[in-house]
Structure formats: structure tokens, C-alpha cells
């Protein structure tokens, strides 16, 4: 019988998570201490059109496959002399990071037998396993199982907890920090302290024989009280040292991230999420809007870290992924349908900037291009393995499923 995510949850919950978070970490988990490096994961949901983000825009197949969507090389940004790759015109900040040697691109990332369902493809990435049906345990959850030792807040999720990458771990989810505190005192201010004490006490009570979901809820509530305190206090007086792009809806999240990293929150993994890349129609506008948001904010974020805490900046990388790319040719709606293989971007002052792996060869594609897919050249687990081994100071052999290709590509020091 297959193990569903919930099977797993029920079992793991009754096994350990029913304890308050802190107690569980001290008694279970902590086999190893994590390093002091910070990983920011930035998921682009929907399947980014990599060809129009970073692609060989001068290639004859590209131009033939995209009568309305092709970006002319005169408008695109040439990545480097000697490379045939061009960045989308909205990505001049990526180009600046590239020129500074702070952007690595892993090309042609994918896995055998591409799955064209968003949800299934995302599950493969969450589990680091392109064969599963359901995510029993996310790769970051497995990492936290082994290496979260001693840290009260090993990971923070800024993406509303929708992703099973942390399945099994009550990783706090922070949407809006201004609201991240329990309000009390309904009628007169006088009961505030009393109510707060009661709220905490009720969540922490033992509930023997309770349904696992109820135990989980109580544990998550107790954890929320602790997290709320720490997250309110850390970096309370943070001010951005650089100008973030005006009116960019991603500013709030990236400034919060900067605040915690600059002010030394003991958190190793942050998870960010951006949707909207599923550009079946009106792609030109939709992709431009998204890329003109992510480019400037990533640049501003690293500039902010460097200005306020250069040491922390050196310890931070941002890893971008999307569940797949899109077809080589456009569809009839000025958009592109679900495809295969993509590129990963990795940013940070410590990253070894450059191109890794090989870009899928467009010359091998044949018409009809709206049915043709990029063919992967680099197994995505190799990227994850290098992050686990060389950045998170863990062991990919323990974190990734057995038999995963783990040969490093060399983009991390």
C-alpha cells in the first residue's frame, strides 16, 4: 500500500511531534549541528518559461518556434561574450549579479521521464525523487530531521505552508510579521497578562489519546507562541540600507528576510514562493511583470546584506527553482504549454559565478515545436546534493533518497 502524506503525518505525529517543538528537537532530531550558513529557497510556481528568461535567443529554432513570443536579441541582454545565451530584458539586475560573479546558472536541469502535471512535478522536487506518487517526506524535512539539532527555529516558511517540502516538520509559517502575535485583552487591558498566560498554558497541556491532528495543532500552537516572541524581537529596528524597487510586492518578504539574516536569527533555511509562471496565454506581459519584480528585489536584498552585515551576506545563497519549463514553441494563445527541463539560478557573494551543465540543444528539436520539449542534461538531484553537502554541511547520502545522482557540479565553494 502506498504511503500517503497523511499516513505519514499521522504516524510521525503520534511518534514525536505531539511533544512541544523544543522538547522534540532536544530529545529526537539533533544528530548533528548545522553549519552557520543560510539557504534561501525561492520557488517559482507554474513552470517558468526558461527560453524567454535565459535562452539562446539568436537560435533559428527559437525564432521559428516563437513567431510572436521570441525576444529579439537586440532587446535581450547578452549574458557574456562567448555565450549564445541572452537574459530577458527585465533581468538587467541578473546581468549585474552575473558580472559581479555572484550568479551561477545550472543548465538543463531535469530528470528522466518528465511529468507535465504541475503538482506531480513539484512533488518530485519536494521529495527529491522523480518516481514517487506522494511526498512522504520533503528533502528539507529530511535535512531538518538530521541537522536541526539545538536550533529552536531551524527553518522559516514565508510561503504560507502550502509546500510539502517541510512535511512532517512544524516549520513556522510567517506571512505578515505585523500580525504575527497573539492579541489579547478583549474588553479591558487589565486581563492581558492573564489571558496570555492561559493561552500558552492551554496549548501546552498533555492530551493523551487525542487524535494526531489535535495533538499536532496543540504542538503547533505552543511553537507559535515561541516563534512569535523571537520573530517580533529579532531585528526590531531594522531599516533597509539600500533602496528596494518602488512598488514591488516582493519587497516586504525580502526585507523581512534581510532583517532576520542581518540580525543573526539562528535560522538556516528560508523558503520563499512566487506563483504566476504558468503562462498558457498572454505570456509576454505576464512573464515581464514577474521578472521585473524578481530581478531588482534579489539584487537589492544582497546589496542590503552586504551593506549591513557583510559576513552574513557571505554566508547566504539564494537558490531558485521551478517545477519545469515550457514547450519550445508557443501555443495559439500567445503563451506556452507545460514542458520539461529548466535552469536553476543560484545567487550570493560566495557562489562561484558561471554556467554549469549544458543548455538543452535546440537544434535537436523538430516541429511541431509547440509539442517539442527541452531535454534535460543535468539531474536535478545533483543540484540539491551539492547544496546539502557543500552549503548546508550535511550529507546528501542521508538527505536524498538512496541511489540519487549526487555528483557535484562545482557552483558552491
Amino acid at each position: 500500500m502506498k504511503t500517503t502524506r497523511r499516513d505519514f503525518l499521522s504516524k510521525s505525529l503520534s511518534a514525536g511531534l505531539a511533544l512541544p517543538l523544543g522538547a522534540r528537537i532536544l530529545s529526537g532530531g539533533g544528530l548533528d549541528k548545522p553549519g552557520d550558513k543560510i539557504l534561501v529557497v525561492f520557488q517559482w510556481m507554474g513552470g517558468v518559461d526558461i527560453l524567454n528568461t535565459l535562452g539562446p535567443m539568436g537560435h533559428s529554432v527559437y525564432k521559428a518556434a516563437r513567431p510572436t513570443l521570441a525576444i529579439p536579441t537586440s532587446k535581450a541582454i547578452k549574458l557574456a561574450s562567448g555565450s549564445d545565451l541572452y537574459l530577458h530584458p527585465a533581468l538587467k539586475d541578473f546581468k549585474a549579479l552575473w558580472d559581479a560573479g555572484e550568479m551561477a546558472v545550472i543548465q538543463g536541469v531535469g530528470y528522466p521521464k518528465p511529468n507535465f502535471s504541475h503538482f506531480q512535478a513539484m512533488k518530485y522536487w519536494y521529495a527529491a525523487d522523480p518516481t514517487i506518487l506522494n511526498v512522504a517526506r520533503g528533502w528539507l524535512a529530511r535535512y531538518l530531521d538530521l541537522y536541526a539539532g539545538g536550533s529552536a527555529l531551524p527553518a522559516l516558511d514565508f510561503q504560507r505552508g502550502m509546500s510539502p517540502v517541510f512535511t512532517g516538520h512544524p516549520v513556522p509559517v510567517v506571512g505578515n510579521i505585523a500580525n504575527f502575535r497573539f492579541r489579547t485583552d478583549p474588553y479591558t487591558r487589565i486581563d492581558r497578562g492573564l489571558e496570555e498566560k492561559k493561552l500558552r498554558a492551554h496549548a501546552s497541556l498533555a492530551r493523551p489519546g487525542a487524535h494526531p491532528l489535535l495533538s499536532f495543532t496543540a504542538a503547533a500552537q505552543a511553537a507559535a507562541f515561541d516563534a512569535a516572541d523571537t520573530l517580533q524581537k529579532t531585528g526590531k529596528n531594522y531599516k533597509p540600507a539600500v533602496t528596494y524597487p518602488a512598488g514591488n510586492p516582493l519587497n516586504r518578504t525580502f526585507q523581512l528576510l534581510a532583517r532576520y539574516i542581518i540580525h543573526g536569527l539562528k535560522t538556516h533555511v528560508y523558503y520563499l514562493f512566487l506563483g504566476g509562471f504558468d503562462t498558457h496565454s498572454a505570456e509576454a506581459t505576464r512573464l515581464e511583470v514577474l521578472l521585473s519584480r524578481v530581478g531588482p528585489v534579489i539584487k537589492a536584498f544582497f546589496d542590503d546584506l552586504k551593506a549591513q552585515n557583510p559576513a552574513a551576506a557571505k554566508k547566504t545563497i539564494l537558490f531558485q527553482w521551478s517545477e519545469f519549463s515550457r514547450r519550445i514553441g508557443e501555443n495559439g494563445n500567445a503563451g506556452t504549454d507545460h514542458g520539461a527541463a529548466t535552469c536553476n539560478f543560484v545567487f550570493g557573494p560566495s557562489v562561484k559565478g558561471g554556467l554549469y551543465g549544458t543548455y538543452p540543444d535546440l537544434s535537436k528539436a523538430s516541429p511541431p515545436y509547440n509539442k517539442a520539449n527541452l531535454v534535460y542534461t543535468t539531474d536535478f538531484r545533483r543540484v540539491l546534493a551539492e547544496i546539502v553537502d557543500k552549503w548546508l554541511e550535511g550529507s546528501s547520502a542521508k538527505v536524498l533518497p538512496p541511489g540519487s545522482p549526487t555528483k557535484h557540479l562545482g557552483f558552491l565553494p
Binding site: V173, E195, K198, A203, A220, N331, N333, H338
Partner: protein, 495 residues
């Protein structure tokens, strides 16, 4: 006079293979009708359980009414519906004076929450909420939210009809046509977005036996369903719009020569509904929404058989589910997490609170429910995924805003803390605590919670002065705080 309304009309599924897959060995015991016994009587806890699952949370009076009605007549009443149109366009004033502009998403959300709070047919509304989640449509452009109101109205009208009728309507629904791009799909270049999700998310489920080729062929069969300006659905039978070639889906042929391309949809749905995976997928999903998570394979097989046997009629299927032993079993009791609608609508209903439904809409979104504007077509998270530090904080803070006197928050809430004390003649701190625990969490909490709450009541102004039910200041201060503390309990997050 309420009757079963337009939704009793059932579109037949023509080609269901006789009997469907081989029948499992007899109905499982847990699907037999539950009958009260002296050891396991019909009581307040069971009445409240039924109402938590079939509506958005009962008032104390509703629990008492259903307790008196008994389980069978209660389910009969819940399954009865009548047409009750809800506005989808224009500006409307609620009885409270709140003005809703249905040309905004906030207005549409408020109208839906108002309907969920005040409908005479809560189960129909709950089932409509299930379908809203099942199809999880979002807005491509927030400039035109009216189609989402129409979408919700369609699912409300058809909530208890047949699955085929619902699929037919949703395929032609302007909000869905835009959401998954099918209105743009043309014969020459079919857009696969809707065809793929129809198989993967709405009927069969991922990995259930269809292929990439089936997705492509289904998408061809779905061409031609498009929109006129102002979001009016029509089928365009021209060969430019509809692909008239032969399609083969799941090994079955679809062919309707010009100008009968619209019939492809009917044929496609019959093929998909006939596939055993579809009945299992839907039966499991409904079960997990209304009863408990992870039903066993044998149970799902039998539920799927029942669903198919009645041509996917939802009303008759739910009639079996809601009367079953499993529904009232320990495995089902408090085994699901309230979603933000249950939490927000339910608590306001329980208190008979006056609220701004626009404010409630904003709170529901903060608790993780992108009401009427889903971000991805896979729908809502299940079980534990509702629960995280942010959503728990938002829930407790919603309760806190609800019991504030004087409307200082966007909820503009009013509630009468004397209501239950007067109605029930409650006379002491312990009496008040026990009453609220009984009606909010079936009185089932760790004993230390009860004593802690009695202690809370008896610390007037945080001091040692005892609660006096005749003292209006005591009641205002402490009953409000008591409701907040109970609403924040882990037990109150369950349904």
C-alpha cells in the same frame, strides 16, 4: 414550500458499463445506518457533530433543535433545498447596513460569507463550498469578479445534483473557461490546460491510468467552448474553433461530425465518468471532506460503487454517508481540522455576532483560504496543512476581534455576552464555563483547561475578586475573554 428544486433534475450518464467494476463483497458494516443505542445515544455531542460537518458551525439553538429532531429527520431536513437566488452583480445592502459592491472581489467574498452565515439551507451551501474547493477557480484579472459570483451560484444551484451535470456546467462556466484558458483553445492549437486538469484534478486523479495522449485528445474534444464579449458562454461549431477529427480517450472513440461538435463534451464526460478511477477519486474526496481522512481501500471501493450505481447523484450518496455508522464513529469524531470558513463563519454564528462580512473575508484570506480566488487549481490543503503558526495566530486574533465591544477592528463586531446567561439562567462562574465548553467543544477538553477557565473567571480585574453573574461589568469582561480562550483552544480548531 421547499422541495428538491432544480437540482433534482439529473443528467444521465449514458455509457456506464453495467454494474461497473466487480462489486466488493457486500456493503461494509460502517456504511450501515447508525442507530442510537443506550450505550451510544443520540445526544448533544452527536447533534453538534452532524451540524459542524454539514454546515459552517451551528448556533446553540440549532444544536438543541437538531437534538430534538433526531438524526434521520435532521438529515432529511439538511438534504432538502429550494432555489434561493443570491445576487451576483450590482450593489447590495445587507440587513446590517453593510454595502457590498459585487464589482469587487471583496464584495463577492462578503456576499458568499453572508450567504454561508444566513442560508436556510446550510448543507447545500456546504456542498457548494466543497465544489468551490474541488474546482478551485481563481481570477485571472481582479477587474472582473462577477464571473466568480456566477461560478459560486452555479455550484450552489447544482450542489446536490449529479456530478455529470456539475461537470457540464463547470466546463461552460465563464470563470472556468478563463481560469484554465479553454475559451482560447482552437481546433488548430488546442490548449491543454483544462483537458489536463479535468482528468488530473476533477475526475480521475493523477497516476490513475490516463496518458499524455489522453490529455491531448480530451483537449481536442473540448475545443469550441468559448466566450462572447461580456463573458457570455457559447459553443462555436465552426471548424476553426472545434476540432472535428476522431478522438480516442481512454481507448474509447469520440466522433461527432459537423456541426455537432458540442456533443463531444457529453461523450467525453461519459467516458471519463465510466472509468473506475473517477468514482473512486470523487468518493474518497467527498469522504475525506465530510467524514475522516484516509478511508481504507475496501470502503472507497464500495463508496465508488454506490456513487456509480446512482449515476453520480450527490444527494443520494450524501444521504448514505451522513446516516452511516462511520459518520458517527470515534474515527470520525473531531478528526478533521476546521477550515477558515468553518472557523470564521462558525464562531460568528455561534455568538449571533453582528459582523462586517467584508472584514470577515479579509480574515478568511489571512487564515490561508483564498476565497473565490484560488492561486492554483489543485485546491485547498488537507488536514494538518491548515495548521501552522501564522494561521493559528490569525484564528485566535479573529476570535479576539469578534468579541471586542465597540467595533474597533475591520470586523466591526457586536455580540451580546448576556445572551446565553439569560437564555439558560446560568448562575456561577463554573456554570458559565461549563455551558460554553459544552456548546463550543462538546465539553471535551483536558480537565486542567476547565479549572484554568474557572480560575480566569474568578480573577476580576486580574485580581482575586470572584465573578458575579449579576454584575454587568463582570459579564462583559469575562464572558468575552472566556469565548476568546475557548475559541483559541486546539480542540476548537477541530470539527
Amino acid at each position: 414550500m421547499p422541495d428538491s428544486g432544480p437540482s433534482s433534475r439529473v443528467v444521465p450518464v449514458r455509457s456506464l458499463s453495467p454494474g461497473g467494476p466487480p462489486l466488493p463483497a457486500g456493503p461494509p458494516e460502517e456504511l450501515a445506518p447508525w442507530r442510537p443505542t443506550s450505550q451510544d445515544p443520540w445526544n448533544l455531542e452527536k447533534a453538534a457533530h452532524l451540524l459542524r460537518r454539514t454546515g459552517f458551525g451551528p448556533t446553540p439553538e440549532e444544536v438543541e433543535f437538531v437534538l430534538a429532531l433526531g438524526p434521520d429527520r435532521a438529515v432529511d431536513a439538511l438534504l432538502t433545498t429550494a432555489p434561493h437566488p443570491v445576487p451576483t452583480h450590482g450593489t447590495h445592502v445587507l440587513p446590517s447596513g453593510e454595502i457590498l459592491n459585487l464589482g469587487t472581489l471583496a464584495g463577492q467574498r462578503a456576499m458568499l460569507l453572508y450567504t454561508q452565515s444566513h442560508t436556510p439551507y446550510p448543507f447545500q451551501e456546504k456542498m457548494a463550498a466543497f465544489w468551490l474547493d474541488h474546482f478551485s477557480v481563481g481570477l485571472k484579472s481582479s477587474a472582473f469578479p462577477e464571473p466568480m459570483g456566477v461560478h459560486a451560484a452555479t455550484l450552489r444551484t447544482l450542489a446536490l445534483s449529479s456530478f455529470k451535470e456539475i461537470l457540464l456546467a463547470v466546463t461552460k462556466d465563464p470563470a472556468m473557461l478563463v481560469w484554465l484558458d479553454n475559451w482560447l483553445s482552437r481546433a488548430r492549437k488546442p490548449n491543454e490546460n483544462y483537458g489536463r486538469e479535468l482528468l488530473e484534478l476533477y475526475t480521475m486523479g493523477v497516476g490513475s491510468g490516463y496518458t499524455e495522449q489522453d490529455v491531448k485528445e480530451a483537449s481536442r474534444a473540448l475545443t469550441g467552448h468559448t466566450l462572447r464579449p461580456r463573458n457570455q458562454y457559447y459553443f462555436n461549431p465552426s471548424t476553426w474553433y472545434h476540432d472535428y477529427g476522431v478522438k480516442t480517450v481512454l481507448g474509447k472513440r469520440i466522433y461527432n461530425p459537423y456541426p455537432n461538435g458540442a456533443k463531444d463534451l457529453d461523450d467525453l464526460l461519459d467516458i471519463v465518468l465510466d472509468h473506475p478511477a473517477t468514482a473512486k477519486f470523487l468518493a474518497r474526496k467527498i469522504w475525506e471532506y465530510f467524514v475522516y481522512l484516509d478511508p481504507g481501500t475496501a470502503l472507497v471501493d464500495y463508496l465508488a460503487y454506490l456513487l456509480r450505481k446512482d449515476g453520480y447523484n450527490i444527494r443520494s450518496f450524501m444521504s448514505i454517508v451522513l446516516r452511516s455508522k462511520a459518520f458517527y464513529s470515534a474515527a470520525a469524531y473531531r478528526a478533521l481540522v476546521k477550515d477558515p470558513l468553518d472557523y470564521c463563519v462558525g464562531l460568528a454564528r455561534f455568538l449571533h455576532a453582528g459582523v462586517s462580512y467584508t472584514g470577515m473575508g479579509a480574515r478568511v484570506v489571512l487564515q490561508g483560504y483564498p476565497l473565490l480566488n484560488f492561486e492554483n487549481p489543485s485546491g485547498l490543503p488537507d488536514g494538518a496543512a491548515w495548521i501552522n503558526s501564522q494561521t493559528l495566530i490569525e484564528r485566535a486574533n479573529y476570535a479576539e476581534a469578534l468579541i471586542q465591544q465597540g467595533g474597533r477592528t475591520n470586523l466591526k463586531a457586536t455580540f451580546d455576552p448576556f445572551r446565553e446567561i439569560k437564555r439558560k439562567g446560568l448562575a456561577s462562574a463554573a456554570g458559565v464555563v461549563d455551558h460554553y465548553l459544552l456548546y463550543m467543544v462538546d465539553g471535551k477538553v483536558p480537565p486542567a483547561v476547565r479549572s484554568s477557565l474557572v480560575d480566569y473567571m474568578n480573577r476580576i480585574d486580574s485580581g482575586p475578586r470572584k465573578f458575579d453573574v449579576r454584575n454587568a461589568a463582570h459579564v462583559r469582561q469575562k464572558v468575552s475573554g472566556l469565548v476568546h480562550l475557548i475559541a483559541a483552544l486546539p480542540e476548537f480548531q477541530m470539527k
